[in-house]
Symmetry: C2
Subunit: 216 residues, 2 copies
């Protein structure tokens, strides 16, 4: 029976993840999560040290159930640095919406909880590393403009592709996910390769935005 019914810890994590995904802007109370998992509030503390601990474990759980590693490794195939960058921008940019709810909760908690802040830093460092790998190859390809070095370029792209920027553009400013990805792709190429015609491709968005546009 243990093969069919998932163990309690897993049920908690699944419930936590579901709650965070379904209402990204509200972070649930421990009692909410307990109810959703079908156990008592106190029982949560039999499996997790604290609210923060539970949340951090939820992010791990989510990455695991989503095959995050696999999804973010598509750039392995590519040979040229610019293709690697492109692939990673695409992969990460399209992964963000999947993790939005959970990541947002992590951001919120990290304002007060150092543990959460550490977990968030780690996650951002992981993403940064993906970009760095691509940019190193761009550099050895000789495609990196002389004005940039690897560190600077990586910082720039990592900033550009930050979770928060995705949130701003798609949630506050109403950009389509497609528009976001395409524009960020163009921006990354422009910034790191000095490739300006990349930005003409972003033309697909203009349609989406002109008429309806901003709710704010």
């Amino acid at each position: 029976m243990s093969s069919n019914e998932p163990d309690t810890r897993t049920r908690i994590l699944a419930a936590s993840m579901k709650l965070l995904e379904s209402a990204p802007t509200k972070l649930p109370r421990m009692s909410d999560i307990a109810k959703a998992a079908g156990i008592s509030r106190q029982a949560l503390y039999l499996h997790f040290d604290s609210r923060t601990d539970l949340l951090v474990e939820t992010t791990r759980y989510q990455d695991h159930t989503n095959n995050a590693d696999q999804k973010l490794m598509t750039h392995r195939n590519k040979i040229r640095g610019r293709d690697k960058l492109d692939a990673f921008v695409l992969a990460w940019g399209n992964y963000i919406p999947e993790i939005w709810g959970v990541a947002r909760a992590l951001v919120t908690l990290s304002a007060t909880e150092p543990e959460a802040a550490a977990a968030l830093d780690q996650r951002m460092a992981d993403v940064r590393q993906g970009f760095e790998a691509a940019i190193k190859v761009i550099d050895s390809d000789g495609d990196l403009p002389p004005a940039l070095n690897v560190t600077l370029a990586t910082d720039l792209v990592a900033m550009l592709m930050s979770f928060r920027n995705w949130e701003t553009l798609t949630q506050s400013m109403g950009w389509t996910q497609d528009c976001y990805v395409e524009t960020m792709r163009a921006m990354a190429q422009a910034a790191v390769l000095g490739d300006m015609n990349a930005l003409s491709t972003a033309l697909t968005c203009t349609e989406h935005l002109d008429p309806s546009g901003h709710p704010a």
Copy 2:
């Protein structure tokens, strides 16, 4: 005597501002602010409805004491759109560090308090408007690349110059304020004007970053 001793409300606001500026990552409790203002905790509620209200008023107070309007209006002089953009990027980019502490608190609270979120949205909208003004002129100058429209370009630059990005680059990634401003200036020009050689100017940073660099 009322001319020399500031009234209580002002003393509270000053104390609140000072606390937020001196420890940007910790948001003070009401009791901390009361103590700093030299009054009882309960007396705060004689002047402000709630913690959120007090914080929002603190941001206004800060903008007022800092002459924010004046500082952000330097681009009025400029005629060409590209010069206006440049001036506003410079002005806003250099204003951010002054308001960091208070703004950060607002961001933190806005996760749970709708009032704070509204205030934050307003502030972001104000900044956005500054960029939009410049970009409209760029457009009428005929300098806006055909792939962009005003809305899209404004969103892009507003995202680039967001408070959060400043925080990421200068606080997490260790960029100098100068490096930040110069790079953002170049990025903005590249994004909105298709002016790629702007990015070569950002070369000043490479020195700062290569040796010491990342704490993470």
